[in-house]
Symmetry: D2
Subunit: 358 residues, 4 copies
Amino acid sequence: MAPIEPARRVAVIGASGYGGLQSLRLLHDHPHLEVTFLGGERSAGKRWNAITPFLPLARDLVVRVPEPDAIAAEADLAVLSLPNGLASRLVPDLLARGVKVVDLSADYRYRSLSQWKSVYAAEAQEHPRHDDALCEEAVYGLVEWERDAIAGARLVAAPGCFPTASLLALMPFLSQGLIETSGIIIDAKTGTSGGGRAAKENLLLAEAGEAVAPYGVVGHRHTSEIEESASRAAGQPIRLQFTPHLMPMVRGLLATVYGRLRDPGLTAADCTTLLQAAYRQSPCVEVLPVGTYPSTKWVKQTNRALLSVQVDPRTSQLIVMCAIDNLVKGQAGQGVQCLNLLAGLPACTGLPLLPFYP
Amino acid sequence: MAPIEPARRVAVIGASGYGGLQSLRLLHDHPHLEVTFLGGERSAGKRWNAITPFLPLARDLVVRVPEPDAIAAEADLAVLSLPNGLASRLVPDLLARGVKVVDLSADYRYRSLSQWKSVYAAEAQEHPRHDDALCEEAVYGLVEWERDAIAGARLVAAPGCFPTASLLALMPFLSQGLIETSGIIIDAKTGTSGGGRAAKENLLLAEAGEAVAPYGVVGHRHTSEIEESASRAAGQPIRLQFTPHLMPMVRGLLATVYGRLRDPGLTAADCTTLLQAAYRQSPCVEVLPVGTYPSTKWVKQTNRALLSVQVDPRTSQLIVMCAIDNLVKGQAGQGVQCLNLLAGLPACTGLPLLPFYP
Amino acid sequence: MAPIEPARRVAVIGASGYGGLQSLRLLHDHPHLEVTFLGGERSAGKRWNAITPFLPLARDLVVRVPEPDAIAAEADLAVLSLPNGLASRLVPDLLARGVKVVDLSADYRYRSLSQWKSVYAAEAQEHPRHDDALCEEAVYGLVEWERDAIAGARLVAAPGCFPTASLLALMPFLSQGLIETSGIIIDAKTGTSGGGRAAKENLLLAEAGEAVAPYGVVGHRHTSEIEESASRAAGQPIRLQFTPHLMPMVRGLLATVYGRLRDPGLTAADCTTLLQAAYRQSPCVEVLPVGTYPSTKWVKQTNRALLSVQVDPRTSQLIVMCAIDNLVKGQAGQGVQCLNLLAGLPACTGLPLLPFYP
Amino acid sequence: MAPIEPARRVAVIGASGYGGLQSLRLLHDHPHLEVTFLGGERSAGKRWNAITPFLPLARDLVVRVPEPDAIAAEADLAVLSLPNGLASRLVPDLLARGVKVVDLSADYRYRSLSQWKSVYAAEAQEHPRHDDALCEEAVYGLVEWERDAIAGARLVAAPGCFPTASLLALMPFLSQGLIETSGIIIDAKTGTSGGGRAAKENLLLAEAGEAVAPYGVVGHRHTSEIEESASRAAGQPIRLQFTPHLMPMVRGLLATVYGRLRDPGLTAADCTTLLQAAYRQSPCVEVLPVGTYPSTKWVKQTNRALLSVQVDPRTSQLIVMCAIDNLVKGQAGQGVQCLNLLAGLPACTGLPLLPFYP
């Protein structure tokens, strides 16, 4: 095996959950990044292929305790897939050792640590934090809107799955002031893998199969994450409605976003053109023609976001739909995009964009 | 077998689709209504149990051509489960012969025939109609809001599945003027059985499985049906946003309804109390406590509608969720409720209200 | 409420798992049996309807610690839905107090306690048992084949879900010596609710959805349970192959049973006639015409078993297919059949036999 | 775009069904083969990307009428994904023009045309055939067992999905005479995409969802296809039992194969070693360790076949399990393997082998 190029050795920390699994899977096919360290507490000392017969890796690493020195010795970049609150214990040590970090948790998604503490109160209780400066320094990894900042960062907070789909739909309209900033409604639908791999009764097939239900109505934690970016884009504080729903499927996420147009003369064709312009430089985002609506199946196991927009001239309502794979563009794939930028590569390098249909 | 009580002999016309199948299934367990005529063009002359091994009926009828005289000779009531446009060819003849009709199609859901013609243009082309008077006479069969009118009617138009869930959520707030009449958004999710039993590519398991997608965005035909009743309740014309989504499951329908409260001081508890009061006399509707959200699984194969309401004090947004089984409360079960009222029985007679969980 | 007839008061012990839930659900609609005691450790002291919003019972009982004296004071019959090994701690005390018991666990399915200890070794370790006499006394609750013995029993061991479907298919042929006793193969398929309601990673929708896999290949514990009854029916020891598979659905179980005909001249029609004769007195079992094969959908949420048989004249192979709902005929429904017999009622009293299709 | 190497230009004929779709998808990522002709009757004249928004191809071809001269002008190889009977009308003309063909239909899977006519009687009626010589010439494209013959062929008949999984499991044991040739049972399970993309009632999500059922019991057409290869491997005529079942999932196929060991002393470890030896040169086939059983999820959207074997020492029964993706290794992927061999490339070139889990 040829030596790995400098700055392109990647540590994946926390590989047994879906975030870690997907990161490993995506990096396996990557032409320039290579996983050189596999960190996990529970499986430390075991070979990956022995414990994961369904995802054998060509480079079969031994899982190791995620100790900062060991990580820094073998990796230039790290992607952390850990429960909320835990990443903040590892990140300062990694940065201090020159390892750049993409964190898939919520720990660095807010500029203000105190806001994190109020939104993630239980985690804050369990993991006392004082890394205000890092929260301010961290870049929010919404690749299509923060490309340059990510490329120059040490620490990137990969967005949540719902914020990714919601913001890709909203940002073009908010940043240009085309919709009213009040009354925005995001009705989102996700497959159950969004709830993680830890066994929970409500995510059992017997419970979640043949069922659709809302959850976290008013006050879901992704609300504040969406609002933070949306407010910045709009240049004023935004309070919006976000309602997630659990779908009887493994993967896929659809956000149906409603906002009121300021200019009632704008048509669906106008808005489609505007979206196309906004994402012209973003090969992972595709805008569908007017009247074609995105199915989550069309993006399954890809890093693509599909957007479609419709306008009701009777009500001046704008409806923007965004479909992503919650585990790829909504999590690990966007993480790889961030790694790419940190490594000086084009954001989409090595990422699948075409689904296997059906 | 004891003779069937007068006025309680039922004809089911169009029994091979899901509407007819469910009607037969529900009536099979009914203590007072009895199916005495089974009408169908394609299967005429065959015994039901021979062609439907999965749903053998104790009273194994021969399927017959739905000829008005034959129907009138054997039935006092008829439930029609026919494609849109076709019911209108049969209804006048049945009424003329004294048979009261519950129509599961959209043919009589609008007071104005010309509106039907504009919304169902293709069907109007194929089935020329001039029964304006019947459109005006027909009662909209939303049982919980039209109980007395239905009981006194000759012709009842059973509501569509989406309008049923949407209106059960909206009516209490609209009729009391508690929400603004503009800006209402209904984001609805349905299982694929809502698309009927005729084979269509997009409803194949291989296509609709593991997929969530919007359809009919802006302009779905149920929009106007919902608006007709909502406007009447509000006492003013209402234009609202209705977006249906196809879910990867067999049955179940959830409407997530968003509206802006006129009085920002109203709490979720207040709104829950209001809903409970509105449906106190309606055993098929149940209001969940604040913070408990309905799953479609909780109403599967029942005629129950589950409501829950939440309020976001930051935005004054009201969120009302309504889960039903699209084939029961959303179609055949509501049809049986109407038959019950026509037969002088309590609306919920003989209808299942408790799910088999899971 | 009228007083409950003597001998028809039922205690349900362990109501939070699927076995208990289904028992409660089925008994809710029962015309003659009434749940008078609800036993559970974790929820003791709480009202059922408060903790189970999706299955509110008309008679809203307080969950109580399953203490034998308390149970005996309020119930004549008890159905136990407890983890393997736990029932054996409660059963002797209940019998001593005159309460007849239907046990849904495996504790009394073997005549020999030592066999139970070898098959359920882990449970035997945790729950030391010495109730050999009760094991010998207990009647195996396969209703269609043990009707009289059940009716006269104090203690009934309800069969497992796989044995129920497998034995309903095999017994008619084995008891008449029509198939060879070696080489029998049972290839079984079950929905994930068969794995219970306790959260396990492999039963998550994200894991079990869109997946089919065998498990417990060679040596699954139901093998010995099936063999015990099969051997008795054949009058000689039988060793057969049983392979269960996990299906991506909530409920339903199909056993595809292969055996070699002794008389190569027997046709599928002959075998169908034989099955019909065997189950003539069994309203819960229905034999389909030759060439019609049972779908688990056709029995969902019913206590019906659907059988179909085919013969390959080229190979003399007999193929018997049996579809049941794993939670009803495969568990709680068969339990209610046993309760019915203990209470002097026809076995099928109060049980649903017709599915809601689809 | 660089010019395509000679002998590596591929025509895909019949691209709207799943076989064609998957072929296009797989070839899209192929490093050496390039689709240069897209043939279809219904969509002729339209651009692929315009009619298939969910699978936009980098090289956006116009769909053309599949006329032999046109195909031969632009392609060296052709993969045909047409209904049974139709391929035989096109194949002779393509071969005559020097185009090598991989046919995904059943038209050339039997050495004897008359056997095809008896098994595919309806198709034979509609499409009269006299190409006996081509039937004899055609090579059966089970890559792992016919590598050299395929590499030297003009016409390859890609195996059916069930025969692929069944034969991969059986061939090592049959070819070495390790199992008895009578009494073999194949119990197979497939997702609904195996039924194709044409709309059929029984494949609707509402019908096939939450359901498991056998079909084609005794006499399914793949029986004879499996027997043809199995007989050849065993050196004697084999009659076996093959029973397919429809599963509620999109893709995936599992064959559970039962045979009796001739040497009762063989263990599961022995048999695993034997399988590993048999497939040592076959990177698309992987043998799992004893006690690990394959899930169809582990091969989804890959060209991998996962095998596992177990032995019951009590009964001398051998159980071989084989999981594949029915649309990849079971159809289009195996087709690409054949194209690779025809083009002088290693069989697995350009094919995905690792799933995206979950």
